[in-house]
């Protein structure tokens, strides 16, 4: 379970994440939707403690990420496709990560098989295609067999067969009782995968609701998404009883001296 509370991150004078609060519950896939640049990746980095929030906090299984005892066994993350040294093989990359969290070496071969990289495991990882690199990132996320998974745009670079594969994989991981948090800017992709949706725009929460509920109010899910994010219409997820009101204008940001 991931709990995000009033998470806020500022880069200079830009508010990248604005008092964001939501939960990611176990046993289901939660989609994390928003247009490009809406703060999805920043939120993920804040949850993982890679960036420090200016306010608020995120907890995984009740602890801040930096207080986790065996981080890779408690949460697995895919943030960017190429978070590895290009000169090291996929196998060596995973073996190093496994060693850091006391994970058995045999698990490395297991996850390489699982993501279909066993054949390319000894090549320099820099030679992997984007799709293969994405699979290596997924292998790293699954290394510690964690109850919580965070994946930032995991379908990027995957071919149709790969997309089908990851959809099945994530659904089965959720079916095993894991909390699976998947970001995407593609509503069509998320609709096939997630049961629950967290929608953000300009760093603010726009909706925290089930897929069924969001699509009920519009002719299609896509239209519902565009209404939410395009017009920056405020939305309150009734089903979750979420108490924060998001009404009111966007925080006005004006550069000094501009008219």
């Amino acid at each position: 379970m991931i709990e995000v509370r009033d998470l806020t991150k500022r880069y200079g004078s830009t508010l990248a994440v604005d008092a964001l609060s939501f939960d990611v519950r176990p046993g289901m896939v939660t989609g994390f939707l928003g247009p490009n640049g809406s703060g999805k990746s920043t939120t993920m980095r804040l949850i993982l403690g890679l960036d420090a929030p200016d306010a608020g906090q995120a907890r995984i299984g009740g602890r801040r990420y930096r207080d986790l005892r065996w981080p890779l066994r408690e949460a697995g993350a895919l943030l960017e496709a190429k978070a590895f040294h290009p000169g090291r093989s996929a196998h060596a990359h995973l073996r190093a990560l496994a060693a850091s969290n006391g994970i058995d070496r045999r698990r490395v071969d297991e996850v390489l098989d699982l993501v279909g990289l066993a054949g390319a495991a000894r090549k320099r990882a820099g030679k992997l295609s984007l799709g293969m690199a994405q699979r290596l990132g997924i292998a790293a996320a699954l290394l510690g067999d964690p109850p919580v998974l965070l994946l930032d745009e995991p379908v990027n670079g995957l071919d149709p067969a790969g997309i089908h594969w990851i959809r099945d994989l994530l659904r089965s991981l959720a079916g095993q009782g894991r909390a699976v948090f998947v970001s995407s800017h593609l509503i069509s992709e998320i609709a096939l995968l997630a049961e629950h949706l967290v929608v953000i725009g300009q760093g603010r929460l726009l909706a925290d609701t089930s897929v069924a509920e969001l699509s009920a109010g519009a002719t299609s899910l896509e239209e519902a998404f565009l209404q939410l994010t395009g017009a920056s219409t405020d939305y309150r997820g009734q089903a979750t009883g979420f108490s924060r009101t998001t009404s009111g204008a966007w925080p006005a940001y004006r550069k000094e001296g501009s008219s």
Binding site: H85, A99, S100, P147, G177
Partner: protein
């Protein structure tokens, strides 16, 4: 859910696990082995060249052949920089910090593993340079032996200097994060500024890394300043070692502090 969380073993990650990760990272890059091989070979080649061209019998012969360590120092310093900066340039740092969120522990393990390797390779390179240079003496010069006063100490400290310059590079890499900029600062700080200040300000010269290594650590006899008007009072070997260690420690401490404070 409970079945899943139940599999997390007792305790938590410690230095041992992080050091194992860093050791695997270091040894699974081909560039590591190339850099180390060239470091050792370069020292020996330069020592042979010095040995062949030594004419003066009164010179500190051990000190002369150990000047072969200088190009190797540059390489191992660059390798230290790369150990840190390639994490940032490749994006690996995010995978590393997701595995080990306690950043000071991460840098400590990196320093421990890389420092130990640089020390082992440095000692091997220093002894190799000594024996290679010694074998190359001509002109009827009787080569120094390990049993002569100060010789063994000079070789061992020359080996240690590889480790300390490597750690200085690692610290600079943690501070600067960009490969080219960090290497530029390392080269300027260790070599170039040494040449400029060494010529201009004699009082400071004794504290510059390249002079500490060349004139303090690897000297077998104290240099006399008797009668000279402009003479640098070089540090004793052990004082030199302390100052050089301090440089590496300060760079690593600032690097660690910044690693904790900055977003990855």
């Amino acid at each position: 859910m409970s079945a899943l969380t139940g599999r997390v073993p007792a305790g938590h990650y410690r230095f041992r696990q992080v050091a194992r990760m860093e050791w695997i990272k270091l040894r699974t890059l081909r560039s590591t082995w190339w850099a180390l091989a060239i470091t050792a070979a370069g020292g020996a080649v330069m020592a042979v060249a010095i040995g062949l061209n030594t004419i003066s019998r009164s010179a500190d012969l051990t000190n002369n052949v150990l000047a072969g360590v200088i190009p190797g120092l540059l390489l191992i310093g660059v390798l230290g920089v790369l150990v840190m900066t390639t994490e940032h340039t490749s994006g690996m740092i995010r995978a590393t910090l997701a595995a080990i969120p306690r950043r000071p522990l991460l840098l400590a393990a990196k320093a421990g593993v890389f420092g130990a390797m640089a020390l082992a390779v440095g000692e091997a390179a220093a002894f190799l340079a000594f024996f290679a240079g010694r074998a190359a003496f001509r002109h009827g010069i009787s080569a120094p032996s390990l049993t002569q006063p100060g010789v063994l100490q000079a070789i061992v400290l020359a080996g240690a200097s590889y480790c300390l310059i490597g750690l200085l590079g690692l610290g600079l890499g943690a501070i600067i994060r960009h490969t080219a900029a960090a290497i530029a600062v390392l080269v300027a700080g260790v070599f170039v500024i040494g040449m400029i200040i060494g010529a201009a300000a004699h009082g400071l010269a004794a504290y510059l890394p390249v002079f500490i290594i060349g004139n303090s650590l690897t000297a077998t006899k104290p240099q006399s300043c008797a009668g000279a008007a402009q003479c640098v009072h070089f540090l004793s070997p052990w004082a030199g070692l302390t100052v050089l260690s301090l440089y590496a420690a300060v760079a690593l401490a600032i690097g660690g502090w910044l690693l904790v404070r900055r977003d990855a």
